[in-house]
């Protein structure tokens, strides 16, 4: 039977029920909804086309085109699923899987203790998803913990394809180097490379790997060159031998020479260190691919990756109920890559640390860096206890949501109980040099 396109879109629209708005952004509103037939929760991202945007309307937003183009082709347990698309009254609607937490939230939730099996499991899922993306000749270009969503069953899903594009098309067209959130941006991008490939995503994953072990972003700063400096401090300034062609990149300059320091993650196992080194190789050609990383001994060695269902979950503090959830459905940089300014560094909103203070700049050795990390850890814990107080008062205000509230309280109690035990272990994990085998 022949169905008119308009009619088909109406049919799709009627499959879902929009329940409430959970977020608003410059180019999209996000709604919570359900698939009527199954009762499955979904997120509906309504892309505003009629309203003119800051950069001037240009029809369907480029990042929306990119996201749809990529997600229509990608079907993998570790990639967010685009269930449907429809247009209604001149607006474009994307129906996505509903996922209510992300890895950033879990990393920042200091009540959660990461065991090495957890880290391994998250890395495994990230790399599996990324391998699928790369296999399809797509690069994500915005890998960061905030874009790794976590499903209720523990599965990790790569989301936000607003910057994704296909690569390796043989046309050798120049690409923008102003991609990927700065903290996770590969060195070749910071140096202005316009020809690059899947390796930029791997660098980001390497940063995420480190962040899962350290619980703070590895190379965090607001300036490109401080970030670069931090890389050199932590990994040693690369020589022309380490990275042939480095000096030919557009924004290259005479770097300050740092010697290769003793390893950053002394507490980790040999396999983990080897893998992280391969991901954070300065030369993109020497960096591992997602596929190679998946067959690395790290994933075969004990302890085995934790089953997704047994991974720690994020228990949501009520105070940022409204603002936190939807944010992840937006693209971090909405505009066209070529015309837009650099994607802004993620603001350290919510529970964790303020962005700029997470790692203090210009600590010349890794041990110094770690001490500052430790200091910040403590700060974060103080912040946490502050938040706890807030939660309680908030709880009273929210009494009418009794059911939700009760559930939440249940969570809170659990996490409070949990909190007492692990404090000591946090200290141990942070004390890298003295107890080498704790974090792995």
């Amino acid at each position: 039977m022949f169905i008119e396109p308009d009619e088909r879109d109406h049919q799709i629209r009627r499959k879902y029920n929009k329940t409430k708005k959970i977020g608003e952004g410059t180019y999209a509103d996000v709604f919570e909804g359900t698939e009527i037939a199954t009762g499955r929760k979904v997120a509906i991202k309504k892309i505003k086309l009629g309203k003119s945007q800051a950069g001037g309307a240009n029809g369907i937003e480029l990042s929306a085109v990119r996201e749809i183009k990529a997600l229509r082709e990608l079907h993998h347990p570790n990639v967010i699923e685009l269930l449907d698309c429809y247009s209604y009254r001149g607006n474009l609607n994307l129906v996505l899987e509903y996922l209510d937490s992300d890895l950033e939230m879990i990393i920042k939730d200091k009540t959660v203790i990461f065991e090495s099996g957890h880290v391994k499991s998250w890395m495994l899922m990230t790399l599996r998803g990324l391998d699928h993306i790369h296999r399809n000749w797509i690069i994500h270009r915005d890998m960061k913990p905030n874009n790794l969503l976590v499903a209720p069953d523990g599965q990790l899903k790569i989301a936000d394809f607003g910057l994704a594009r296909d690569y390796g098309d043989g046309q050798e067209k120049n690409m923008s180097s102003q991609v990927v959130t700065l903290w996770y941006r590969a060195p070749e991008l910071i140096l202005g490379a316009q020809q690059y490939g899947a390796a930029v995503d791997i660098w980001s994953v390497g940063c995420i790997f480190a962040e899962l072990m350290l619980r703070v972003p590895l190379f965090a700063d607001e300036s490109e060159f401080v970030v670069l400096d931090k890389m050199f401090q932590a990994l040693g300034t690369p020589s022309e031998e380490d990275w042939p062609g480095m000096s030919l990149l557009p924004k290259t300059f005479k770097f300050k020479k740092y010697p290769k320091p003793p390893h950053l993650f002394q507490a980790a196992t040999k396999a983990a260190i080897e893998l992280i080194d391969k991901m954070l190789a300065f030369d993109p050609n020497k960096r591992v691919t997602a596929k190679e990383a998946l067959s690395h001994t790290y994933f075969k060695a004990k302890p085995f990756p934790t089953h997704p269902s047994k991974l720690p979950k994020y228990s949501r503090p009520k105070s940022d109920d409204k603002h936190k959830i939807p944010a992840r459905y937006y693209s971090s940089s909405e505009d066209s890559v070529t015309s837009s300014p650099a994607p802004t560094a993620p603001g350290g909103s919510g529970v964790g640390l303020p962005a700029s203070s997470s790692v203090e700049p210009s600590s010349s050795s890794s041990s110094q860096q770690l001490s500052s990390v430790r200091k910040n850890k403590r700060k974060a814990e103080d912040l946490d206890s502050l938040n706890e107080d807030e939660e309680d008062s908030e709880g009273i205000r929210d009494q009418y949501q009794d059911q939700v509230c009760q559930e939440q309280r249940g969570h809170d109690n659990i996490s409070k109980n949990r909190k007492k035990r692990p404090r000591k272990r946090i200290a141990r994990i942070l004390n890298y040099s003295s107890s080498p085998n704790v974090s792995e």
């Binding site: 022949f2 396109p5 088909r8 309307a57 240009n58 029809g59 369907i60 183009k69 082709e73 690409m175």
Partner: protein, 456 residues
């Protein structure tokens, strides 16, 4: 449903296509990877070797393979269905429009059919259809004025509608134009994508609803976004004004872009033969290192054939890598080159050195050659659309356009009015609700105020 053909290849001439379909692609994958590190085809990355048929090929997971692959018969049916339902819809709308016209007061000519729908690529002489002056201010919709049925007075039943084949000719004409538009910023790939977008659009729509010229522009605009060459609408519209003399309103462009996306099922990723041809070019060099000059010629020539293939329906029948191989084979046959392409394929798939000899049977090779033969035949028999014919059908199209898509027609004005009314009603309702809420709020504050006073 039309968008998910169950087994799109069920009725092609080659009966067991599904099995061989993956064979050439497969075998070809591995060889390309071995020849070069360049990512030359989408399937090069496939980790599955040709022996494993259990797991799906990477290309088989693409939307192009899943949803945009049809048998020849199915494609014809789809086009006929789109045409048939279009004709019914237009007839219905015309009848309604006529009814409205009879009751409506005469409207002035200046407001009739908007400029850009009227602006067709026809030569000036044809553009001003000979309208009798007496009819210029007639309240009757413009299509009944068409000279086709005696210049007025006809009913929708008298209208001569375009057939599916005639529609196709007009579309193909504009697809050809896409390749010819003199804009250096549009890469070969971008144009190819725009052509495929247009083809997909008209499987579900009819030219009576959307003029192909408009869809051509929307396709180019959207393809630019999809192929990483985004262009601002102002620049794009200026370019189109210069190159194809269409002054397109911004809103119309955006509207059409959305309609186009909708009809394509929001599937923006399109795969073309170009990359596969490049991969074959590299692979052949590794087999015949002495003939590199010849192979270079074959590759150059094959590009022309690929361009032609885009203007046929091959994209709906075969995989990009198969089309590329067909184009290379055809190119190597040209008398100036005379290269034995079949020998290369045999060497590759069943030669002594071949890695695939175990996996590729003689029957599969035979099937492959059959596919290639069909591709080559289609390309060889391709003839550019006759411009005169396209113009003739375009003229015919003027009398059978859907009045609901013409913003000045009675029917669309009525629809607009109804919509406006609905919006107004909704607004009033919201206003009333707001007012009631405000009053209630005031009451609460008033009470509070009173209680506050009484307490102190």
């Amino acid at each position: 449903m039309s968008q998910t053909p169950a087994n799109p290849l069920e009725s092609t001439s080659t009966s067991n296509t599904t099995t061989i379909n993956s064979a050439p692609n497969n075998a070809y994958n591995t060889s390309v990877t071995s020849a070069t590190t360049n990512p030359s085809t989408i399937s090069t990355t496939s980790t599955i070797q040709s022996s494993s048929n259990s797991k799906k090929q990477l290309y088989e997971q693409t939307s192009q393979y899943r949803n945009w692959r049809f048998s020849k018969k199915r494609l014809k049916d789809l086009r006929e269905q789109a045409n048939k339902s279009g004709v019914e819809r237009v007839k219905k709308n015309m009848t309604e429009d006529l009814k409205l016209a009879e009751t409506a007061p005469p409207k002035s000519q200046s407001s009739s059919p908007i400029q850009h729908y009227q602006n067709s690529p026809l030569p000036q002489s044809l553009q001003n259809s000979p309208l009798p002056a007496s009819l210029q201010n007639s309240p009757r919709p413009s299509y009944t004025n068409s000279p086709r049925y005696g210049g007025g007075g006809g009913t929708p039943e008298d209208v001569q509608f375009l057939t599916a084949d005639e529609e196709l000719v007009i579309c193909q004409y504009y697809e050809m134009i896409i390749q010819q538009i003199p804009a250096t910023g549009f890469s070969e790939q971008l144009r190819a994508t725009a052509i495929v977008f247009m083809k997909r659009f008209y499987l579900r729509n009819t030219v009576m609803d959307y003029h192909p010229k408009m869809i051509m522009l929307a396709s180019l605009f959207l393809a630019a976004k999809c192929e990483n060459s985004t262009i601002g609408h102002e620049e794009f519209r200026a370019l189109m004004k210069k190159t194809s003399r269409v002054d397109l309103a911004k809103e119309t462009l955006f509207q059409l872009e959305l309609a186009l996306s909708q009809s394509m099922n929001y599937e923006y990723a399109v795969h073309h033969p170009h990359k596969s041809a490049y991969g074959l070019y590299l692979d052949m060099q590794s087999y015949y290192s002495k003939d590199i000059k010849k192979i270079q010629k074959i590759y150059e020539k094959s590009k022309e054939h690929i361009k032609q293939s885009l203007l046929t329906d091959l994209t709906f029948f075969y995989q990009p890598s198969q089309i590329a191989m067909g184009c290379m084979r055809l190119a190597s046959r040209s008398p100036k080159i005379a290269f034995d392409f079949d020998a290369y394929i045999r060497e590759k798939f069943s030669g002594a050195q071949s890695k695939h000899s175990k996996d590729v049977s003689e029957q599969q090779l035979k099937d492959l050659f059959e596919i290639l033969d069909d591709i080559e035949k289609t390309i060889e028999s391709y003839t550019p659309v006759d411009k005169k014919k396209a113009q003739e059908y375009d003229l015919k199209l003027r009398s059978c356009k859907n009045p609901a898509k013409d913003p000045t027609s009675y029917i669309s004005q009525k629809r607009k009015a109804i919509e406006k009314e609905e919006r107004e009603a909704k607004r009033l309702k919201k206003q009333a609700a707001n007012k009631a809420y405000q009053e209630e709020l005031e009451l609460v504050f008033l009470n509070q105020d009173n209680s506050f006073k009484s307490e102190h």
